[in-house]
């Protein structure tokens, strides 16, 4: 049934439909509404049996999740940004132990400078951790991905992170169709762990592994990620058969058939990009979009196939590796080395800066003209940058640079 719901509420309701047994909560914007809503459902008995644990840090949130999952409970938590970084040791550990925790990541920039708004820096920081990372385009997809996430996680014994853009999705109210409980129950069988802490069948979990076996253990984890490349599409197909919705899967190709220029992107910006592509198509240009839903595992073969006909590939991404360039773009280049010569990266939307349809059309224009550099930053205020560079050159004690930039923009005098 379609309802007008805040994205966070849709996630909370959907997670509850998945019958989690342990939910850990630690507040960090912009994921707080999700855990608040789940907490209320546990408190009033609507979600039962479920233990809702208010922990003292994100590190504890993931650690409690590890213990609960190892004891055989279906386990959920949510975080964002600094919270993800604070729990990062446990994020790796959950994956290394093969524990199918599901976590919502309400994507948010990482400081310093502190910034609560959306970009993808947090998700990119844990791309090597061994989690499946799925990016939602809409709130409907974000909700649907959570149901699929529990299924994938438990089937593969791999934790799954559902990434949804902070504020843009988490706080947007739009129509979402919540799935019937019976449908969820048929799609998501009770969790049967491969390993469990059970006094009747005691096992040691988390033993020291030396050089004689470490590589094999890590390779097995890699193989499970490769298995996920097979399972993610089939789970999405099964989900589509039940709900009629094409949520999830590895990729969301859009108007790629004869596209000469293809934009690759992840998350909610895909909607804007599709609008821009529609506009350019109406003007007769052969452009398309490749939305990446599965960032980890990265669908190398599927991306290569999707980009085979493209002459120009532009990766628009909300994060970058300082001193190097695009993160998603690097993966795209690996998947599709033939497009390497014509692969451009546009870093955009950092710290919540809007990406408009006009921006995207501008990117397509410059790409067509051959004036798009290999790496560029959308709407970068080069004047402000130049002024701060000049200050730094002029004075050793040029002061804190973020604050200088802010003062400059406000028309005030920077530190001198």
């Amino acid at each position: 049934m379609l309802q007008q719901l805040e994205g966070s509420r849709a996630i909370a309701e959907t997670v509850a439909l998945c019958r989690p047994e342990v939910v850990c909560a630690y507040p960090i914007s912009p994921q707080t509404h999700i855990i608040e809503a789940i907490g209320a459902m546990v408190k009033d008995g609507r979600l039962s049996p479920c233990e809702f644990i208010n922990v003292e840090s994100e590190y504890a949130a993931m650690s409690v999740s590890i213990g609960a999952s190892a004891a055989g409970a279906r386990t959920y938590t949510a975080t964002a940004s600094q919270g993800l970084l604070f729990m990062i040791e446990a994020v790796y550990n959950a994956a290394g132990l093969g524990l199918p925790v599901v976590m919502t990541l309400a994507n948010r920039a990482i400081g310093a400078p502190i910034n609560i708004w959306n970009d993808h820096s947090d998700a990119m920081a844990v791309g090597d951790a061994g989690w499946i990372q799925l990016f939602a385009e809409t709130n409907q997809e974000a909700a649907d991905l959570h149901v699929q996430a529990f299924r994938l996680a438990e089937a593969l014994s791999v934790p799954v992170m559902v990434c949804m853009d902070g504020f843009i999705l988490t706080h947007a109210v739009e129509a979402v169709d919540l799935i019937d409980q019976a449908v969820v129950d048929s799609f998501l069988p009770p969790y049967e762990p491969r390993q469990v802490l059970d006094p009747d069948d005691p096992v040691s979990i988390g033993a020291m592994v030396g050089p004689e076996a470490f590589e094999e253990v890590r390779y097995l984890a890699h193989l499970r990620q490769l298995d996920a490349l097979e399972l993610i599409p089939s789970v999405a197909e099964e989900f589509a058969a039940l709900t009629g919705r094409a949520s999830g899967g590895l990729l969301h190709p859009y108007r790629l058939e004869d596209a000469e220029t293809v934009i690759v992107a992840m998350g909610s910006v895909l909607g804007t990009i599709k609008d821009a592509v529609d506009a350019r198509r109406r003007a007769g240009e052969r452009v398309g979009v490749l939305g990446v839903t599965a960032f980890r595992p990265f669908p190398v073969v599927a991306v290569a196939d999707a980009l085979r006909g493209a002459r120009r590939v532009v990766v628009v991404e909300k994060a970058f590796s300082l001193g190097m360039g695009g993160v998603l773009a690097t993966d795209v280049a690996t998947a599709s080395p033939d497009s390497g010569g014509d692969l451009a990266t546009v870093v955009a939307g950092l710290g919540g800066r809007p990406i408009t349809r006009r921006d995207v059309e501008g990117i397509l224009e410059r790409s067509a003209q051959g004036t798009l550099p290999r790496l560029s930053f959308l709407n970068l205020d080069e004047d402000v940058v130049a002024r701060e560079r000049a200050r730094m050159a002029a004075s050793r004690r040029s002061g804190p640079f973020a604050e200088n930039v802010l003062r400059d923009l406000a028309g005030g005098r920077a530190h001198r």
């Binding site: 233990e51 003292e56 213990g67 802490l197 006094p199 069948d201 988390g206």
Partner: protein, 332 residues
């Protein structure tokens, strides 16, 4: 000829041998039904106080729970020496995750058991002093504050022994470690404010807090069993001498633990809901020097002219414990 008062236990240690006890009072280790939770074949050093303490504590917990037990372990000596596969020494359900998160992981296990209606399964978390007092303190305090149903045991050997004997917040003042060398005008560890975990645990008003040493294993077992009769957060702090880190003879582990208690340097007590309910009074009081001298980590206090000033400060700490907990022998 002076008269020496001889108790019926004539071993000089005041330890009561099993043979003199009724079956009910004998140690779990005297029973063929013991679970050998931490089984033979592990790689702890000879004379390891932690291996001794963990074995007694966990077997007692297993007996108290009729075997319905899960153990969560922090990174550290206990984790490393017990699990180089395929030679795990654990005969109980056991999970190691990270160094600083064992209390939170234990909370998670307990929450899962509750959600699954398996309240009969109890959870013990365990760590060394580094994993408890330093890196694990945040998660431990969180577990205490929520009053989660976990018994957390700290095996305190007063330093980071697994990484090569570095200083922790539980290292006593003046003790030499690899990061507090016996050099300069203030050799060894600083005289700081200390980080007294049992008292910090009591400050959380949790239902049960106790300290113990491996010199009195009956007392340790009794406290574990007492802890398992209580629901909610419980904390047990066990002094476990480390021959390697303390620079002591392997044969002296139990003797040093006894001297730590008998000098008042390590107070042995128990508390409920933040109030001390019982202390193990000193039987034969000794000065701290008798405790410190056999340990090479304190050798700089006694070499050459020695540092009687520092010994006096350490004695003052022991004296303060004796006053705080009322540890003075009954004869005094």
């Amino acid at each position: 000829m002076t008269e020496t008062r001889v108790h019926f236990y004539q071993v000089g240690s005041f330890a009561v041998g099993n043979r003199l006890l009724s079956d009910a009072d004998r140690t779990v280790q005297a029973s063929p039904e013991r679970t050998n939770s931490l089984d033979a074949g592990h790689r702890a050093c000879q004379g390891c106080g932690e291996a001794l303490g963990a074995r007694y504590a966990l077997d007692a917990a297993m007996r108290a729970t009729q075997g319905r037990l899960v153990a969560v372990n922090a990174t550290g000596c206990l984790e490393v020496f017990s699990t180089p596969y395929p030679e795990t020494s654990w005969r109980i359900a056991w999970l190691h995750s990270l160094f600083g998160n064992a209390p939170a992981v234990a909370t998670g296990v307990a929450a899962a058991m509750r959600a699954k209606g398996r309240d009969d399964v109890r959870v013990v978390g365990q760590a060394g002093d580094g994993g408890t007092v330093d890196i694990g303190f945040g998660t431990l305090s969180g577990m205490f504050e929520r009053n989660d149903d976990v018994l957390f045991i700290c095996y305190d050997n007063e330093g980071y022994m697994n990484t090569g004997v570095q200083r922790s917040a539980a290292t006593p003042p003046a003790a030499r470690t690899a990061t507090s060398e016996a050099l300069g005008a203030d050799p060894g560890n600083v005289f700081g404010q200390g980080k007294d975990l049992p008292r910090l645990a009591m400050a959380h008003d949790i239902p049960y807090v106790a300290t113990a040493t491996v010199a009195d294993l009956h007392d340790l077992e009794r406290k574990v069993e007492r802890a398992m009769t209580v629901r909610g957060a419980r904390y047990l702090h066990v002094l476990v001498p480390c021959p390697l880190g303390w620079g002591a003879a392997s044969a002296d582990t139990v003797r040093l633990a006894r001297l730590a208690a008998e000098s008042g340097f390590f107070p042995v007590f128990e508390a409920e809901h933040g109030v001390v309910t019982g202390v193990r009074r000193i039987r034969q009081r000794v000065g701290v020097e008798e405790y410190l001298r056999p340990q090479r980590r304190f050798a700089h206090l006694f070499a050459g002219e020695g540092r009687p000033d520092l010994v006096a400060r350490l004695q003052a700490l022991a004296d303060a414990n004796i006053v705080r907990y009322g540890l003075a022998p009954e004869e005094e």
